[in-house]
């Protein structure tokens, strides 16, 4: 391999190795980002109103039915969602990875589309579709069957409705895990089974399914986690139905008169459970390596489904109707209709909603500005920090790099709403009063984005062998120079992809933002949430479509770079 060296060896310098400084600097930043809010959270959970130590908050938590009921509801909700996700997503993952079903790429792309739809927006769209009386689907049902005016097919304002909507935007996690696991599983194992006389179905049952079982289990845990920590969809659908989940309850504890101690105490079980579930996921996925043993792999053999491949495709599209086609159609309809619950006709077509949002609604401009400033800042800073950390950890550049890696992944265990509570408690009082500025939101978004950004950059860096840099250093470059001249150009596409995904994740964040915003620092997701509370559905549809267009544009850009996509875990809120 030839390496262009711009500097002649004569000017070889042994510059100061700045990496130690960078390590300590970043470690300090990460500590402040994570440790500070979590410490305040724990502190508050164990003190009473006067600041004295107490277990009273937990006693209240367990004894007060208005606090205990949401806890039980949340577990039931998370368990059911997880089960449904596995039942739907695992077969779909298998279909796109292992069969000759047509349009497999398109199906994968559409699953990505449901990935990037903010769950709160999906929930609002489903209100338009399946509110028992005004929902568009129920209207169609009544027209088709001639049912009475107060009969309905679907009721989204119900526990099962909420489970359904959450499952719509959670199943991609399971799908991606299963499909990726199957992509990586060598075809030889299945071939061996066939050669030994196993039929297609025997092979599937005795080889393929056991191989992906860890992925399915991990997917189930992730789905459980998502459903448990989700805030937007329950806030929109559970309250009208007359129940709370843990996240909405924590949020309501901040309404006047605020009870931060109780909110902190209620946040701790969510935090602990998340940590445990992630440990479990790690253990399950950690065992998977046996699946990729065995030298050179060939592409897996595709199973011929025969005529059933069309049935399989139809099934996939029926599933995808729910998170993608129907909700987008409903938002589009509401955008241009005079009454959000009526189908567009010539007589009720209107541009008024768009005009209202863009020119009359005085909050729009500021919210758009804040959202983009925060999106760009979070994406840029987050990517830079992620690059540096993953460099230090993958190259084992300095001692203590492991701790750094741990700190960067730790926020994955902090649900958005819990982080929101922690940041609120940390930064509304001296010495750091950041509440009311964009900084506090930037901190929240950076913390939430760090794990995904770090994981993505780390896998990109692992793919670049250190010998390229070593060569550069042997020829006299300092570490930073080798980084700039060798590593940076090789990393360019991954960096851009990471930037895109952090940006997308940031502009749709709701659960932390809803705890931390002030009138001056409102973002689009919070504005949508506000509008939902006063029932301005048409305005929401316009803002939602704007958000979807921006998001899809950026995701399409990232996909053109053929990076990321399914492998990144976007955070839901």
């Amino acid at each position: 391999m030839t390496i262009a060296v711009s500097d002649p060896p004569a000017r070889m310098t042994h510059g100061f190795d700045y990496t130690k400084l960078v390590l300590y600097g970043i470690a300090l930043v990460l500590c402040v980002l994570i440790v500070l809010p979590m410490s305040w959270l724990i502190y508050y959970a164990f003190v009473d109103k006067n600041g004295a130590f107490t277990f009273g908050n937990f006693v209240t938590l367990v004894n007060d039915p208005t606090l205990l009921d949401p806890l039980i509801t949340t577990f039931t909700l998370a368990f059911s969602t997880s089960l449904i996700c596995c039942i739907v997503a695992a077969p779909m993952g298998w279909l796109v990875a292992r069969t000759d079903m047509p349009l497999r790429r398109t199906v994968r792309l559409l699953v990505t589309a449901s990935f990037v739809t903010p769950p709160f927006l999906g929930a609002i769209a489903w209100e338009l579709l399946a509110a028992p009386n005004s929902g568009l689907l129920n209207k169609i049902y009544r027209v088709v069957t001639g049912a009475a005016a107060d009969e309905h097919l679907l009721n989204i304002y119900s526990f099962s409705g909420l489970i359904f909507v959450i499952a719509c935007y959670t199943f991609p996690y399971v799908f991606v895990l299963v499909a990726n696991a199957l992509d990586r599983t060598p075809g030889e194992l299945e071939d061996a089974s066939s050669i030994l006389g196993g039929s297609t179905w025997v092979t599937a049952r005795r080889v393929t399914i056991p191989l992906v079982l860890p992925a399915i289990l991990a997917g189930a845990l992730v789905a459980f986690l998502q459903a448990m920590t989700l805030f937007g969809s329950p806030a929109i659908l559970a309250l009208p139905a007359g129940f709370h989940t843990m996240t909405t309850k924590i949020w309501s504890l901040f309404q006047y008169p605020p009870k931060p101690e109780l909110a902190a105490a209620a946040s701790l079980p969510l935090l602990i459970l998340t940590v445990l579930l992630l440990r479990a996921e790690h253990m399950i996925l950690g065992r998977r390596s046996y699946a990729v043993l065995g030298g050179k792999n060939s592409d897996p053999r595709l199973i011929r489904l025969g005529w059933m491949r069309w049935a399989a495709l139809a099934l996939c599209f029926i599933v995808l109707l729910n998170p993608v086609f129907l909700p987008y159609a409903a938002l589009f309809n509401a955008t241009f209709s005079k009454v959000a619950s009526q189908f567009i006709t010539f007589s009720n077509f209107t541009f008024h909603n768009i005009h209202f949002v863009l020119f009359e609604l005085s909050a729009t401009k500021l919210a758009l500005y804040n959202t983009f400033v925060l999106g760009i800042a979070t994406a840029t800073i987050g990517t830079v920090v992620a690059v540096v950390i993953s460099y230090l950890t993958t190259r084992e550049a300095v001692s203590g790099h492991r701790a750094l890696g741990f700190l960067a992944t730790a926020p994955v265990a902090i649900p958005g709403i819990v982080l929101g509570v922690g940041l609120f408690l940390s930064y509304t009082r001296p010495p750091f009063v950041l509440y009311g500025t964009l900084w506090i939101l930037l901190l929240a978004f950076l913390t939430l984005a760090m794990p995904a950004a770090y994981q993505q950059m780390q896998s990109a860096l692992k793919a670049i062998h250190p010998e390229l840099e070593d060569a550069s250093r042997i020829l006299g470059a300092t570490r930073l120079k080798a980084l700039r001249q060798i590593t940076a150009p090789l990393l360019r596409t991954s960096v851009i992809a990471t930037w895109c995904f952090v940006f997308v994740g940031t502009i749709r964040e709701l659960s932390a933002a809803v705890m931390l915003f002030t009138s001056e620092t409102k973002v689009i997701s919070v504005l949508i949430f506000d509008l939902n509370e006063s029932g301005d559905l048409a305005a929401i549809s316009v803002l939602g479509l704007i958000m979807l267009v921006v998001t899809s544009g950026i995701v399409a850009l990232a996909n053109r770079l053929r990076l990321g996509g399914g492998s990144v875990r976007l955070r839901d809120n």
Partner: protein, 354 residues
């Protein structure tokens, strides 16, 4: 009979008069002199260039008033921060404790908030000319800190396609009939000041047991008091148990199938005062906005387009709407709401689970 003034009598009267003059301030309170909109005020406001209004008025109407102000006083942008009155209150408290001063003028449909803000010294005195001349004493603060920006009722309503007038419930107790189960939409007192005030008055006049029983009717629980009329207009629910009268008027007058029901037991009276914060970052624009919002022009606009009622003496009701004097109205009591607010919210949550 001839009355003869002695020196002593004259002295007595003189002392009394002096005493009256000295104590007049505290007794009559310290309302500053009324102020008209002067070119100097407009100029000073224009230098500030913007004004931020925290309000709980239904968003489209609040934005229309803001646009009317901007049209009249070009160069001063209004930013409307609309959310439920109880959220406005939380927000003001949070921002104050973090030393954030973002809000200039504040409006709340929970008049009790102004009792608190006045006690805590948050409000700046300012009396617009119209308030001094045309607002009855009950609708302005004695110290000139706030005045009633809007008056309206919290009412029941029906979707006219789904419920015929003769079948409609006549009062709150009628809603407890099993036939309305699953057909009612209702707003929340932890979000909406209108509903908090109304819940106080309703519970006081007809009893908490009404709410306890209503909670078993599978109601659709929304947050804002301006949402139930919208849910009726969509056809999502047939009956609204509580919500804003002006929202129903607006919907009805734009052709939506809704109509007001004034409950037989009486309709809760809601008063939404407007006041300037002492910490207003744009004090002159705040005064101009306060003056504009309480003027006959803006008040008539609110009545005609918004369906609100007004405390302003010169304002005429819009024909076709039931005048206030023909409606049985519950008595408002901001001081009592202020005392019981926390308890009302807790009890409501206990019955309705959210």
């Amino acid at each position: 009979m001839k009355t003869k003034f002695t020196r002593r009598d004259v002295l007595k009267v003189g002392t009394a008069l002096t005493a009256a003059a000295v104590f007049a301030e505290p007794i009559r309170a310290a309302a500053p002199p009324a102020e008209a909109i002067t070119p100097a005020l407009i100029e000073a406001a224009r230098k500030e260039g913007k004004v931020v209004h925290y309000t709980s008025v239904d968003l489209p109407l609040a934005e229309k008033v803001a646009k009317a102000f901007e049209a009249k006083y070009p160069g001063i942008a209004v930013r409307t921060e609309r959310t439920g009155a109880e959220r406005v209150f939380t927000r003001i408290a949070q921002e104050r404790s973090s030393n954030i001063h973002a809000c200039d003028v504040v409006q709340s449909s929970d008049a009790a908030h102004f009792v608190v803000w006045k006690r805590e010294g948050l409000l700046a005195p300012y009396v617009p000319e119209d308030v001094a001349k045309h607002y009855p004493a009950a609708h302005k603060d004695a110290d000139g800190l706030f005045a009633s920006y809007r008056v309206f009722l919290c009412v029941m309503a029906r979707n006219t396609d789904l419920v015929k007038a003769e079948d409609a419930p006549k009062g709150y107790r009628d809603l407890l009939d099993p036939k309305w189960a699953g057909k009612i939409v209702k707003a929340h007192p932890s979000y909406s000041g209108t509903i908090l005030t109304a819940t106080y008055q309703t519970a006081r006049d007809i009893g908490w047991d009404y709410f306890e029983k209503l909670a078993k009717q599978r109601i659709m629980q929304v947050q804002s008091a301006s949402d139930p009329p919208k849910k009726l207009a969509l056809g999502e629910r047939a009956i609204m148990a509580d919500g804003i009268e002006y929202g129903v008027f607006q919907a009805k007058e734009t052709g939506k199938p809704v109509d007001v029901i004034y409950p037989a037991e009486g309709s809760p009276l809601i008063i939404g005062p407007n006041g300037i914060l002492k910490s207003a970052p744009n004090p002159n624009a705040a005064r101009l906005l306060q003056n504009f919002m309480l003027s006959a022009e803006c008040q008539q606009f609110n009545v005609d387009l918004g369906g609100l009622r007004s405390a302003h003496g010169l304002i005429k009701d819009k024909p076709g709407r039931t005048p206030m004097k023909d409606i049985k109205v519950m008595k408002d009591d901001a001081a009592a709401v202020e005392k019981e607010s926390e308890q009302i919210k807790a009890r409501y949550t206990q019955y309705f689970k959210v």
